[in-house]
Amino acid sequence: MTVHRQRLLWALAPVSMFLLALALAGCAPTPQTTLLPKSDYAARIQGLFELILVIAAIVFVVVEGFLIYTAIRFRKRKGQDLPAQSHGSQKLEIAWTFAPVVVLAIITVPTISTIFATQQPAPADALEVKVMAHQWWWEFSYPSLGIVTGNEMHIPVGKTTSLVMKSNDVIHSFWVPQLAGKRDVFPNRETRITFIPDEPGTYLGQCAEFCGLSHANMRFRVVVHTPEDFQAWVKAQKTPSIAPTTELAKKGQQLFFATPPGCTACHTIDGTQAKGLVGPNLTRIGARGTTAAGTLENTPDNMARWLTDPEAVKPGSKMPNLHLSESDISALVAFLESMK
């Protein structure tokens, strides 16, 4: 195999890898993918992406092909005379100045229309969710419903959701790829995202702006419900029930409201004297899919792991290691998991 044919093969490698990757995308699930939009906003981006990807692929093949052809066709031959000393061509310069202009115009026009289409103000009947970003977790509150929750946003399908976002500390970035493009979240100004989810399901999100030690652990979920399920969720959140049945859970309840450990200094449980505002609101935490800002599945074992050593799960976490005994931890876990 000649060096030049190798060059050709290697130049084709990226293309084939890309095709392979697209093929694999079907088999290996990537739950945070940008390529399977589930809202009007994400679908608009995806439509534009597909157009631009096709144009990019054509430009790639043509220009790389031109380069590779030139490199192979004009390699030095034995005893070759000095090649013709051409200095340039005005016609060619004009041609390859205008060719990119045309291609870019084809990209720019739909780009600008999509920019304006996706940044419209929310309609008056939209469901407003206030997003507050913290180092390193997400707080979601529903002013019209009087609900506050942490790290898991619930919204109804087919209805406009309007996110009004702010940060409690540094700059973060709100990103649920299947529902919307990312938008940075600032401590001193509100930013917004508006979209209509179009399929019930659970979608993964993650902070996308480096925000310190546990940036990687600042994850969350958005659960899109059917309208009936959403009403049921709202109802459940509005009627917090604390009715631990087991002895262990009752012991955990007492412990939760005792000092030490002093859980209520930082956490709220609606309808109780726990009104702390430092950490996530824990109302019905047992019903959440994850704990520790979306980093752990919400199982008793994981909850115990979190309470045993928060720093090991989320470096830099504001949740201190309370050095609780194993029995206290299992009691607290039983209590927390009982709040479904």
Partner: protein, 605 residues
Amino acid sequence: MTTLAAPMRRPVAYTGVWSWITTVDHKRIGILYGASALFFLLVGGIEALLIRTQLAVPGNTLVSSDTYSQLFTMHGTTMIFLFVMPLSAAFFNFMVPLMIGARDVAFPRLNALSYWVFLFGGLFMNSSFFMGGAPDAGWFGYANLTSNQFSPGARIDFWVLGLQVLGLSSLMAALNFIVTILNLRAPGMSMMRMPLFVWMTLITSFLLVFALPVLTVGLTLLLFDRFFGTHFYIPAGGGDPLLWQHLFWIFGHPEVYILILPAMGMVSEVLPTFSRKPLFGYPFVVYSGILIAFLGFGVWAHHMFAVGMGPVADAVFATTTMLIAVPTGVKIFNWIGTMWGGALDFKSPLCFAVGFIGMFIIGGISGVMHASVPLDLQQTDTYFVVAHLHYVLFGGAVFGLFAGIYYWFPKITGRMLNDAWGKVHFWIMFVGANLAFFPMHLLGLDGMPRRIYSYDPSMGWNLWNLVSTVGAFTIALSVLIFVINAITALRRGARAPNDPWDAQTLEWSISSPPPVYNFATIPVVHSRRPFWDEKYPDAAHGKAAHAEPEHHGAIHMPNPSYFPIVIALGILVAVSGLMIHPAVSILGAIIMLIGVYGWSFEPAA
């Protein structure tokens, strides 16, 4: 200071540490820059390997989150400010005077000062690793994460002060090269006869002069916030963290062209030589370089689409960003036009130059993709952007720099690199770079954010991360091959002739390595290819360099000087004092003043 009666016979001590410390010879300063840059390449490379090893498998605990933040911050900062920029500066130093037919730069002592300030700045910043940790807020250090509240300790201080010092060095070097190129060209070398590398040096220098002060302002405000309790970026005091982003990227985007234009200049020298043709469309390549530099100042906010500037600003910055693809495309087509119809001699430099074009095209295309704001809102701050910037800065700048290294190594050292091993280096690096960086596009599209030290196995990112890590180590292997090749060449490589590549420009008309005075007689230039015309008079209509009567006589060469390193040391001490005690700063200022005083009264020659 010794006064030299007969400058031609002045004692040029080519040995000894002191001769290097006091040198003001642009060639030796170039070598110092190059050696330091390659050292920092190894530092930044080790950081990259640690990053990639950590990400090779999900949930890895090789390094902690804290260490990981330091690694990616210092990897970016090192590769940009301590490797690519100084390696470009090494070639500016060594080659520009030779290519324009000059005996040195305009301000030789200032040149030495820029080098020492750069070296001390780089060492200062890296010393943080041994003093409680390195900077850890990312290479663009977004406020207000960099405030005392969220980044207590000295880490960010090292970053702020280190970058200020490095900026000072680059600014001095840039002014020096602007004056050198505008004033010291050989007779007959009009602007439009300058080699392309000299043009790109000039444009890069202007970019530095206009862009760096903006960074200086941004850093100064941050320095005030951190040291003196001001609130420029602190919302609680009425400041705005977004101000930092605007200032940083008004510097930061031109910085991208500061990194790539020198490599483009090198490729524009290598392609004609190994095609045995002139550069195709010379004026268009020059003008497109100038246009890229101008437009580069009008696109900064495309780094900030996710902040929500509103649809009008988004649309404007999307359009200006798209526009940059036009002059960039013109350059690429002219490079291919140079090869077209040539007699391509695939020696190592040409392999790297063609590799540069091939990789840069990919980086350019993905750049246009996230110029489209809606796409950017999915791609920014993900591995898609990491892929893009590495295709531009590794596939682009680094491949271009290696083309330059293989091309000019014989001229600089007087020894030939082994060409076969050079090609082995090229192919392994080419494969490694595509293995390392192409999968990052897919990771980004699959939703993997940048700057995460760990990821869950359920995210589906395992395979491509592993492939990328294999690629990173493949690149490291290729660099190792280069290092061995270079050391072997220096120790027992074949002697380099004056003109091993049958090249076209003036630096090849003198011995390898060049004599200390460069040109015994200043050449007279009649075309864009002065040395070629001398060798092929038929093609040059009988005009050739060196055709004028020779003027023998005393050649004034600048004397070595202690004072540049004294002043640089003073700056280092003064800056360190900000973190230690004001008295140390005062001591530094005194050292600096002594240096300036000595410098002022030192005879120039």
